[in-house]
């Protein structure tokens, strides 16, 4: 069982009646067993073969987490074709490159929205001849010859399967572990996207190691809510499910994830820090609105949890009194809170993707959720480092997973050699050679070092770590994360490399600040209005000053306190290329785009006029102008802070 199709057929045999995929449809959870899923995949594979999909060809897959999207992915793999999942929220133009790059002829789209995008780029992508779609809604009058509906596909597949029942199994047997299994386009923090080629072996290997490490089995359940085009989602809700036979649950709609999570009660959970942050913000907002008695209980018991919760989870010694207090808190606060978050059954929770604020991380662990950090990337099939139970820290990502070799270059760059390493960047030998050296080590671009206990510590991207003009280490992401822990701050961009001080752009969180404004009977019209209020500036300044006070206690970076800031007139947006599709700030791009604002910050001005081109979701562009205020924040002398402490 060295390929995904072989694993799928194996599950259909040994646990045919166990749930493979669940989806909430018309308000009711519908289950597909492994046998049903395998049968559908078989028929689909037959139909795709009849449509002309061949071994070694690529097939684009654009859609949210849906059983049929997964079935299409598995069917392509059965035939030895290579699925290329694309981000479903990408605009049409972003899909041109992958489709042209891999000369893709077959594409699977979830619904009308995706079909429309593919049809839009059809003239630019002559290779694309077939577009399959799952949800027929709104597509009844589309007459394009390239379009084929899922039901029709399935029907023709079943018919041809009846004529030659052994066809798919013969195709599956031809597949080998060293064949490419999938290609993922990197989110493109820098330059053009690169297609990362993974074989069955490089995806199955790490998935299996990690599953054994965490003792994942067929009783586990996961909620598939992140974009399938991201390798993490593919690993958690596809590769590992195929390896262990656990059940994948697809939410009803993106807006219902919270409710679905509560209904499903996943035991295995992954969330990037931004999702955990958003959840905590919601909790904070709801607690602010709660009655005083609930607030009192919450604050009292959260103090207990933050003192001993993490230690209890780690199995460290805790006094009897604290145990009793925590037990009471669990009954009154933590248990209900876990339930509201849908995390009552979470046995293994991971967070990764970027550094997580220590307080944020501690919050989840303190209420008894076994959240751990892991480290990995698209090129390494996710699992490079995992924090073992009992060795969880907020500032490391854990030791290497068995089978993974790690070392650091003199520039502090992390280098990796592992069975999960990608084969190559598709049709890009130059980039491949740059990323993978002669010894087979992958250059991650992440800067870090080994902590005393052998855990890996990542501080920032190698290229982002800089220094202030007087020499102090400047790790912008570290500062930004500290700022983002405040519920009022959604995004921050810090500048300081080769400058005399650190200045910052702030994006306020419209939900949290909106709530705050409502409570003060402050009318406002929208984000831009809120962002320009003096009251909001004061609020943000207080947050920054608390970060500064914190920083003043850390000797090495005490000088990177934030001196001046402004609140941006718009939310940073992936559609404007200010964020990547995984919502990471593209600091360099933002710095260039708003160069005038950066200069104003350093020139000591009180306000700056901004005129910006904005791109709306429908692709139109417009201009916008406003005067942004600039404010100073108080900084603390390192020595003074020590005295105060």
């Amino acid at each position: 069982m060295d390929t995904f199709p072989k694993l799928l057929m194996h599950h259909a045999q040994v646990r045919g009646d166990r749930p493979a995929i669940r989806e909430k449809d018309l308000g009711i959870w519908q289950t597909w067993t492994w046998r049903e899923f395998a049968d559908e995949v078989r028929a689909l594979a037959c139909a795709l073969a009849a449509e002309g999909l061949k071994r070694g060809e690529h097939m684009a897959i654009v859609g949210d987490n849906r059983p049929r999207v997964y079935a299409a992915l598995a069917a392509a793999q059965c035939l030895g074709a290579i699925p290329v999942p694309l981000y479903q929220d990408a605009v049409a133009a972003e899909m041109v490159f992958p489709i042209e790059n891999a000369a893709i002829a077959h594409a699977f789209a979830e619904d009308q929205e995706q079909v429309d995008k593919l049809l839009e780029i059809l003239p630019k992508c002559p290779s694309l001849t077939r577009i399959y779609y799952d949800d027929p809604r709104g597509l009844r009058h589309y007459a394009q010859a390239a379009l084929v509906g899922y039901d029709k596909l399935l029907e023709s597949g079943r018919a041809s399967l009846a004529r030659d029942p052994g066809f798919v199994d013969r195709e599956i047997q031809k597949g080998q572990a060293s064949d490419p299994a999938a290609m993922f386009f990197t989110s493109g923090t820098t330059g053009v996207p690169k297609g990362v080629v993974h074989t069955h072996a490089s995806l199955i290997g790490p998935s299996r190691t990690a599953a054994e490490l965490e003792k994942l089995g067929e009783d586990d359940v996961i909620l598939a809510y992140l974009p399938p085009a991201w390798i993490g989602q593919n690993i958690f809700s596809c590769a590992q499910a195929f390896v262990t036979g656990y059940c994948i649950c697809c939410p009803e709609a993106p807006e219902t994830v919270m409710t679905d999570m509560r209904e499903v009660g996943p035991t295995y959970y992954f969330a990037p820090p931004r999702v955990l942050e958003a959840l905590l913000t919601q909790v904070s907002i709801r607690m602010d609105d709660a009655s005083w008695i609930k607030r009192w209980f919450y604050h009292r018991f959260m103090a207990v949890a933050s003192r001993v919760g993490g230690a209890l989870l780690d199995g460290a010694p805790v006094s009897l009194l604290d145990r009793l207090l925590y037990g009471l808190g669990d009954l009154l606060v933590y248990g209900p809170l876990r339930n509201v978050l849908g995390m009552s059954r979470v046995r293994v929770g991971y967070t990764a993707g970027e550094a997580i604020g220590p307080d944020l991380f501690k919050f989840y662990r303190s209420i008894g959720i076994n959240l751990k950090q892991l480290y990995g990337s698209t090129e390494t099939a996710v699992f490079v480092c995992i924090q073992p139970n009992g060795q969880v820290r907020s500032d490391t990502v854990g030791p290497a997973v068995p089978g993974v070799e790690l070392k650091f270059s003199p520039q502090r760059e992390l280098l990796i050699r592992s069975p999960g390493l990608f084969t190559e960047y598709y049709k890009n030998p130059q980039a491949t050679a740059a990323a993978k050296d002669a010894d087979g080590f992958f250059h991650t671009g992440d800067a870090g070092f080994f902590a005393a206990d052998g855990h890996v510590k990542i501080i920032d991207r190698v290229k982002d770590v800089g220094a202030l003009s007087e020499g102090t280490l400047f790790a912008p992401k570290y500062l930004e994360n500290k700022l983002k822990f405040f519920p009022y701050i959604k995004e921050a961009v810090c500048f300081g490399h080769a400058r005399d001080k650190v200045c910052a752009f702030i994006n306020i969180d419209p939900e949290a600040i909106g709530n705050w404004a409502e409570k003060r009977n402050m009318p406002y019209s929208g984000y831009t209005d809120l962002a320009s209020r003096d009251e909001v500036y004061d609020l943000v300044r207080e947050c920054i000053e608390r970060v500064n006070a914190d920083l003043s206690r850390e000797a090495e970076i005490a000088n990177s306190q934030i001196h001046r800031f402004l609140i941006l007139h718009k939310e940073l947006d992936a559609d404007d290329e200010e964020l990547t599709r995984t919502r990471k700030v593209r600091r360099g791009f933002v710095g260039e785009k708003y160069a005038a604002l950066v200069e104003a910050l350093y020139a000591g001005r009180e306000a700056v006029h901004v005129e910006a081109r904005v791109r709306y979701e429908d692709g139109r562009t417009g201009t916008f102008s406003a005067d942004l205020k600039i404010r100073n924040a108080k900084t603390f002398a390192p020595a003074a802070a020590k005295r105060a402490a």
Binding site: L26, G27, G138, R140, H141, E252, E255, T256, T259
Partner: protein, 261 residues
């Protein structure tokens, strides 16, 4: 772009006049609605648009004139009669049960289709249970259609205005009407909400073949989505025809922009 087939006249009013005391709301208005079409009624404030809709679904009883629905002819209609015939509507000021959830509000739209008596329903015995499941499925299909899964269990009163409008459309759809009367479905909405609503209205028309009669103030919307437009002014019909024809009609231009005296 559309595969729907506009059929013959299914609903018409002939010489309808309606007055409240001395106020003449409608004066000898005649027009017809064809099967599967989107028919708009427009006019300045106080032109009698809502009164016309109220006549069509039996809230107001005209003093004069006839209403024809299919084979049948009425001097006036009763609301329950209109509902039983397959005429549903939404209101200018949302008329939902604010304290009830979205799902429950939509279920009330299935009321006319429920056959079990109070006792059966209260005891939740066989037929009542089967019936409830059937109607719940229909309601869920509407929830899916209108993309409001995430607010299924939310009390309507807590929803923003645009979503309440959508829920009201959902409740009207739950009755599986032949004719759907929409009283200013896009009033007070922002551009995005209007676009969404237009999409839903057109999809209702296209997918279920529902005939639509709508009152709307946004001329862009009216011109984009309706097949024929009737224009009222001071209770009289002043124009009737395709959006193009109506747009060019001098009387319509005068009614909207005013004329020099």
């Amino acid at each position: 772009m559309s595969g729907r087939h506009i059929g013959g006249v299914m609903l018409s009013v002939e010489n309808v006049s309606l007055s409240f005391g001395g106020v003449k709301a409608l004066q000898e208005v005649s027009f017809d609605v064809r099967e599967h079409e989107v028919r708009a009624i427009i006019g300045p404030n106080g032109a009698g648009k809502s009164s016309m809709l109220n006549v069509l679904n039996g809230v107001y009883h005209p003093q004069q004139g006839k209403i024809r629905f299919g084979e049948r002819e009425f001097a006036d209609m009763d609301s329950h009669e209109a509902a039983a015939l397959g005429i549903a509507r939404t209101f200018q000021n949302i008329a939902l049960f604010k304290g009830m959830t979205v799902l429950d509000n939509i279920m009330t739209g299935r009321n006319l289709k429920m056959r079990c008596n109070f006792l059966q329903q209260a005891l939740w015995i066989g037929p009542a249970r089967r019936e409830e499941l059937k109607h719940r499925r229909a309601a869920e299909e509407i929830i899916d259609f209108l993309e409001i899964q995430h607010i299924r269990r939310t009390p309507v009163g807590r929803l923003p205005y645009g979503l309440q409008k959508r829920v009201e459309l959902g409740r009207a759809l739950a009755a599986e009407p032949k004719v759907l009367l929409l009283d200013e479905p896009m009033a007070g909405m922002n551009l995005e909400e209007k676009q969404d609503m237009c999409r839903f209205v057109l999809e209702v028309n296209d997918q279920f073949g529902t005939t639509l009669v709508l009152i709307e103030h946004d001329m862009g919307v009216v011109m984009d989505i309706s097949d024929r437009v009737v224009v009222l002014d001071y209770g009289r019909k002043i124009a009737d025809g395709s959006p193009e024809e109506v747009r060019k009609n001098q009387k319509v231009i005068d009614a909207y922009l005013g004329v020099a005296h």
